[in-house]
Amino acid sequence: MTLRQLLLLTAGVGLLAAAALTPLIGSGYAMSMAINLLMFTALATAWALFSGPTGYISLATVAFFGIGAYTVAVVGEALPWGLVLALAAGLGFLVALVVGLSTLRLRGVYFVIFTFGLAELIRQLVTWYEANHAGSVGRFVFLDISQAQIVWQLTAVTAVVFLLGALLQRSRLGLTLRMIGDDETVALHCGANTTAAKLLAFSLSAALMALVGAIVAPRWTYLDPTIAFNPVVSFQVLIMALLGGAGRLYGPLLGVIPLVLLFEYLSAHFPNHFSILLGVTFLAIVYLVPNGVAGLAERYLGRPRPSQPAAAAPAQPKEGTS
């Protein structure tokens, strides 16, 4: 292990420990901030597991997040909590698998549009089912799960996401994904099973997003399709990952922290101008930090780095080829 890796590891463990300790020392407000930070860290990092190396921009985050939340609403009171979480993750994985089979052949902007439509499609399907068969569109989630427990569960999931990400980067699958990001046709000609690789990464990332949705759901009591499948979540995750830099495992984290704090500051101090300021922030990020904070940092810290053209540019294949 190099000094740099050791430093990163220590920083990561330190941050997670700080998050896990908030319920013991912080107020209710600190706890809700911790939940927010952890939720977006887990979502954005899970997003970057697939979209980072491959460069496939997905706007389906909220589709899987919502599936997780809905799993809790439907079976949360009937099954033990551990099983509910497993079911949520499993459902997310399955849906992504089925959807991915038919759509991961799409590339570029077609994929972006498709994933955005997917979230909408699932929302309409759930609404249709609830209205015509369940007889009620809203569902109630009455579970005795405290805010502190949500913080701890999110901490655990975040740790798992990072662990998986690290393993993925060092695996054959990770290499294939990065090849896809560099040039999919070449990857295909090298004999890589690109469809299988994309499918697996997409489903894995979806399962983690569903898990996060399931953990956060008990905060809301009342859940309907508009709440569970709110497209704003997808966009927020995307912009956080892009600000941080999706090519690095820790990249999204660097975007999540400033943006969550910024959103909080804006909605507390400029409640009437929030949307305008949010739009300006997005523009600023796309124009000023196209490679993300991670890219900036590494440029100034003097790490050798090939030029990267796009925002969600793939990570360099040189790292962790095992």
């Binding site: 209710g28 407000y29 609404t127 569109v137 809203g138 956060v216 508009t226």
Partner: protein
Amino acid sequence: MKLRRCSKILAVTAALAIAGLGAAHAQQPSSIRIGYAVSKTGPYAGGATTTTLPNYQLWVKEINDAGGIKVGDRRLPIEVVEYDDRSSSEEAVRAIERLINQDKVDFVLAPWGTALNLAVGPVLDRAGYPHLAVTSVSDMITQLSKRWKNAFFFGDTSANYARGVVSVLDQLRKDGKIGDTVAMVSVADQFGIELSKAAQAALDKAGFKLVYNQNYPIGTQDLQSLVNEMRRRNPDVVLAFSYPPDTIAFTDQAKALGLNPKVFYTAVGTAFPLYKQRFGDNIEGVMGTGGINPNSPAIKDYMERHQKALGKEPDRWLSPVTYASLQVLQQAIERAGTLDRQAVAKEIRSGTFDTIVGQISLQDQVYSGGWMVGQWQNGEFQAIAPLNRDGARPALVPKPAWK
């Protein structure tokens, strides 16, 4: 912005006052801090900025003009902390947590809409804040009031609203004014589904014939095919359990396509001033959710004050009730003589309050004295159900054809 600036000035004044008086007096509050987060943007903004926000502003202004709320032997002005929940549950929960933990407000006023009230319910309950939910209509409220001891529901259950509609129809049929064919559409949202389910059961029980029953996704603006289907069946009664945007769209398209039943009912939004502005004379005879008793002096006075202070009319369903809920809070604080939330909640549970909608008592945490059905009669949204309550008028049927 005005309110926020106002609250900032007040905060500075309060800070100076406390600093000037010294530490001994710092215990004594110099104002009542009241916080709320309502949807100023997003899909709920239309309802929130018609029914909820204007009444909060009116109430705060009136109290501060009068010198404040009387707590013990002092009058304390209200200092407002206001956020936008952007029509999102997560944002609403966080805003309420911020109000309670960061801004340390004395009381929190409810957000707009069933979903958001239910979302913030557990937070307020955990922190021991009284929760006066007005714009929240659900069959769950009896169950919820058992769970949250400090929550008070001023909206009614969906089943009661649906039964109110059917009671009007039943009476009209007895009087020989309508037949028994009913066509119904509903928005596929919690409110629409609950209402249409309850209405279906009540219509069946009363022996009405449901010739058409269909729901449409929330956000649908093109309802022409539904209107045409209804017109083809020529029903005596048309019911639309709709939300404000589709209430407007449905009325618009019924008018354009010449759907002229004897009874025309649209749900949320029919009572909004916007409806009157949009359809002018055509509103005559349209029924909807809510209603007021325009001859009540208290209501008349309230509508004048609302118009004068805010430059617009209130809606004629839950606007007066929202204002009444604030009167309940104010009187409970004055009777408790303290800002202690437990004491105030206890007063709300046990007392009887004089409000613009009459005497209110909340023993079982639910106010069920609201109007169920109203009808536009001579430019006013006259309450017609519950049928025999003081202030109700008989329904005018048939509704005149669209002009």
